[in-house]
Subunit: 111 residues, 2 copies
DNA sequence: ACTATATTTCCATGATTATGGAAATATAGA
DNA sequence: TCTATATTTCCATAATCATGGAAATATAGT
């Protein structure tokens, strides 16, 4: 991954509303959630939400899927994983692995 | 980790110059690199670099360490790991782990 | 065609952010 | 104290980004 792409991905979630949207979708799983559901659950006005969903979609972290009048958005896990891998690539100058594997679907506490 | 903190961390690296600084420090390891070394290696004017280092330091992703006239900056691996863990926390609605462990100090290719 | 619902686009406004030269500040050595 | 080097602060400017109501667009059912 090149720097500009990583910046685009990071920028798309470096904003409170968008990070909440993304995290909710990450937890929701592959079926995703419709824009209206997100708006209601997060309390974000439709036009504002639409703006943020477009940002996330354009960056590639979220994927829309039209089902009738609804558009279901879901997290793009592959893009997220590529980003996380990029951040830790070749870390620590070969010292004993300082950045341990983080990812788990069932971590208990807050990180 | 709460959303606002995660946004602060993400914002601090959601910028090309700062992401390059951070990635260089991540790869440099715990001894870090002086501001002047970063400026030379990345070709960033001193005042601009100082601005970005302050952003990264304030967010907590980078730690300064004064040694005489030099200030060595190093990556805060703990903060980075906490952030990565936060992004994937409770992911995938309990499906088989869709976000696999990413972190390694010796990955070979590009992510 | 008409109605209801879902979502997006338009747009003006306000807010935040990045840049780099010049000057200021700090530290070390002689 | 004087000089050289390292880094930061100051500052004005330009650029980018976030907000949400109103209107427009799309889809489905009758």
């Amino acid at each position: 991954m090149e720097t500009k792409l990583a910046v685009a991905l990071l920028s798309s979630i470096a904003q409170e509303a968008r990070l909440e949207i993304f995290r909710l979708l990450v937890q929701t799983g592959s079926e995703g959630m419709a824009a209206g559901g997100l708006a209601e659950k997060l309390g974000i006005p439709a036009s504002t939400l639409s703006f943020h969903l477009k940002e996330l979609t354009h960056a590639g972290l979220v994927t829309p899927n039209q089902q009738g009048r609804f558009i279901y958005y879901s997290a793009n896990y592959q893009a997220m994983n590529d980003l996380l891998a990029y951040l830790t690539l070749n870390c620590c100058a070969g010292e004993q692995s300082c950045c341990t594997p983080q990812c788990s679907s069932e971590k208990t506490g807050q990180a």
